[in-house]
């Protein structure tokens, strides 16, 4: 089946090459068919160089793009790594190349073939990159990344590193001694690009090789291990429980399970030998898996737990700043701060508005003081100079203490006192005017001059009219007269004198009366005359 297929394959390759770039954008069955045929052809052509590959031919019919790609990958991995190793070897021994080119060594030829195949392979890879989904590209990229980043200490040998550095420096500064440069220094890639462009005419593959430079290129690590790691990684990313049924997966798994420990066996021969022992049955595989798991768990149990799993851990028992890295869970006793959103603010504002409209404010109101006692009579401090001397003040105090003088009516204010006094006086006067019923003056302890009124008159319910006679004392009545005599005691001369004085007084009186009568008469006459004249 190879030859017709081979012819078809070449045709397919040609077709792929001639296809326009926009054609690749939309999926077309024609191109897919062509791609499959081409890949099949390439696969079979490369088959002789991959002794390890489990496939004899590429299984295309009924297989997914992913599956086809997987098959290709399994074939290519060991091949590519082997080629790289050879390249490195060539770098170190450039004479061999010349000899290879010039001579007829089989190895060189093979190598040459390999080189040529490498080119094809690269193209194939590119083609498949176009054909297959992005998964394939991602895969390759993943591999490259992992391959470049995975540093294993056992591979990093200082001596080899130094040798390599020296070679690189010689290459850079020593000019173009060698023609072929394989996956050159990653760091000096930019500087070497020019040289490569000039020299490496057929080294399009090598350029691509530089871009896909990997760890093994520098340090020539274990291909087998690398491949195994890559397979492992691929598995992890692809959720490979689905592929357990597939032979390729099973065989890889076998390799891994048998080399479970970190100290993997080196060399391709060891892995090949294991494969040849035979595949295990499903049950045995399951058991192996379980055993592995159990071993792991037991190992974990024997080790001391991490500090997060221990009970109470103080700061001294855990590494520094380790609590920062762990998400600690503890109870917060504080309420979390409220998140202020627009709704919250609007609700608050609405509340405020409603309160204002209702006039319902939560003002603090002063407690009403209990009306327990009446207002105390506060004694006003007199700020004027006291008119009384100190002696007088003490005198008064003494008098009050001993009770000689009753305490005066206590008034708080001088003005009040004055006002009350005035009012009493007015009241007294009004009472006196209004009726004859005299109300006596109020008893005021004053050293005031009392009116010369007999006590009887004060208390008596009698008219106000008072005669002078009552006021005067008996002696005052006869103020002017000397000694008085009774009628019997009088001498004649005195009798005569009395009679004469009597007569005189009577005469006076009579005369006064007559004059009055005359005047009255005259007045009456004139009036009558007046009246008579009026009448007449």
């Amino acid at each position: 089946m190879a030859s017709p297929r081979g012819g078809g394959g070449l045709k397919a390759l040609q077709q792929l090459r001639s296809a326009e770039p926009p054609q690749w954008l939309s999926p077309s069955t024609e191109l897919a068919e062509a791609a499959r045929a081409a890949s099949d052809h390439l696969f079979s052509s490369l088959r002789p160089f991959c002794p390890k590959s489990p496939f004899d031919r590429l299984l295309i019919e009924g297989f997914d793009a992913e599956q086809i790609w997987q098959q290709i990958e399994t074939q290519m991995q060991p091949l590519v790594s082997g080629l790289r190793r050879d390249l490195k070897w060539f770098e170190r021994n450039p004479e061999e190349i010349r000899e290879g080119f010039g001579g007829r060594r089989v190895v060189e030829e093979e190598r040459k073939d390999l080189e040529g195949d490498e080119e094809l392979e690269e193209q194939e890879e590119l083609g498949f990159d176009d054909d297959d989904d992005d998964d394939g590209e991602d895969d390759e990229e993943e591999e490259e990344e992992r391959g470049g980043g995975g540093i294993e200490d056992r591979f990093l040998k200082i001596k080899e590193l130094e040798e390599y550095m020296e070679d690189d420096e010689a290459r850079e500064y020593g000019g173009s001694k060698r023609k072929h440069r394989g996956g050159g220094g990653g760091g000096e890639e930019e500087e070497e690009d020019e040289d490569e462009d000039i020299e490496g005419l057929g080294d399009s593959g090598s350029e691509e090789d530089d871009m896909n430079a990997r760890y093994e290129d520098f340090f020539g690590g274990e291909k087998d291990k690398g491949s195994k790691n890559k397979q492992k990684l691929r598995k992890e990313s692809k959720d490979l429980d689905d592929y357990e049924d597939m032979l390729n997966e099973d065989s890889n798994e076998d390799d891994e399970s048998e080399n479970g420990s970190d100290e993997g066996l080196t060399g391709d021969d060891a892995s090949l030998g294991q494969l040849e022992e035979g595949t295990l049955s499903t049950h045995e595989k399951h058991l192996k898996k379980q055993r592995l798991k159990i071993e792991q768990m037991e190992k974990a149990n024997l080790e001391p737990k991490t500090w997060t799993m221990q009970g109470e851990v103080t700061a001294a028992k855990r590494p520094k700043n380790s609590a920062l890295e762990v998400d600690l869970d503890f109870e917060h006793n504080v309420r979390p701060a409220p998140v202020i959103t627009e709704e919250v603010t609007t609700s608050l504002e609405n509340l405020i508005k409603s309160r204002i409209l209702d006039v319902h404010f939560d003002d603090v109101q002063r407690l009403p003081s209990l009306p327990s006692k009446g207002p105390k009579e506060k004694k006003e401090l007199d700020e004027n100079k006291s008119k009384k001397g100190l002696a007088e003040i003490y005198e008064e105090e003494y008098e009050q203490k001993t009770g000689l003088v009753s305490a005066p009516l206590s008034f708080s204010d001088e003005q009040k006192k004055e006002a009350s006094l005035l009012f009493k006086r007015i009241c007294l006067k009004l009472d006196a005017l209004s009726h004859f019923h005299f109300t006596p003056k109020p008893i005021v302890e004053d050293m005031s001059v009392k009116a010369n009124i007999p006590a009887l008159a004060m208390e008596e319910i009698a008219p106000m009219a008072i005669s002078d006679a009552a006021m005067l004392a008996p002696e005052e009545v006869f103020a002017g007269v000397g000694d008085f005599k009774d009628e019997g005691e009088l001498t004649q001369a005195e009798r005569k004198r009395r009679r004469a004085s009597k007569k005189r007084s009577k005469k006076k009186k009579f005369k006064a009366d007559t004059i009055k009568r005359m005047e009255m008469k005259a007045r009456n006459n004139t009036i009558n005359n007046g009246k008579g004249e009026e009448e007449s």
Partner: protein
């Protein structure tokens, strides 16, 4: 007297004791001091010279007439001299008069100082502003101003409330009154010196005086 003496000499044991005792009158001040005349002299400060001249009769009359103490003014020596007489009734009169004159010299009025003559329990206490708090310069002036108040109203208020008389002579303060009243007045003045406002002092005064008044 002879018959008595004869009787007593005749019957010595049987005479009753009441007849034997003689009644003596109390000693006058003059006799108590052994017939010596006692003197007191009071210096007159220059600023009280003129007031003394004006109030001389008010001072002289009670001392000479009622206390029966001789008093004279030594013009040359600027002194008031007091002397007991033979008929001075009390021993303490001289000292009282001296206190009275001294109080006048401190700055009290004659009518206020007369209380010293009339009452026993009145005293004069003097102290300085510096005794209360060390004040200098403006602070001192302000303190003195605070003590008197505007137009002397704070001083009068304290005087009236505590029945004392206060004289503020630059830095010296003299208080005349009874012991308890002096204490109250002194406390009020000290609080004023220390800086409390007049209103606070008034309220305290009211409380204290009302309490004192209630007691009696």
């Amino acid at each position: 007297m002879e018959s008595n003496g004869g009787v007593s000499s005749m019957v010595l044991e049987t005479v009753p004791a009441a007849e034997q005792k003689r009644k003596f009158e109390p000693l006058t001040a003059h006799e108590m001091s052994g017939g010596n005349v006692q003197y007191r002299k009071v210096l007159v400060p220059p600023h009280r010279y003129t007031p003394l001249k004006k109030a001389w009769m008010e001072i002289y009359t009670p001392i000479y007439d009622q206390m029966k103490i001789d008093i004279r003014m030594n013009l040359k020596g600027r002194r008031v001299e007091l002397k007991t007489r033979s008929d001075t009734p009390e021993v303490g009169n001289l000292q009282k008069c001296a206190d009275f004159v001294q109080a006048f010299m401190l700055g009290f009025d004659a009518i206020d100082a007369i209380a010293l003559l009339r009452m026993d329990e009145l005293y004069v206490e003097s102290f300085e502003v510096e005794d209360v708090k060390r004040l200098r310069g403006e602070h001192l002036s302000r303190a003195i101003g605070r003590l008197s108040g505007k137009g002397g109203k704070t001083k009068f208020a304290i005087e009236n409330a505590t029945k004392t008389r206060i004289v503020i002579a630059d830095r010296k303060i003299h208080i005349l009154g009874s012991f308890v009243n002096i204490k109250v007045a002194r406390d009020s003045l000290c609080s004023l010196i220390l800086g409390s406002p007049a209103g606070k002092v008034y309220s305290k005064l009211r409380a204290v005086t009302s309490r004192l008044a209630e007691r009696f």
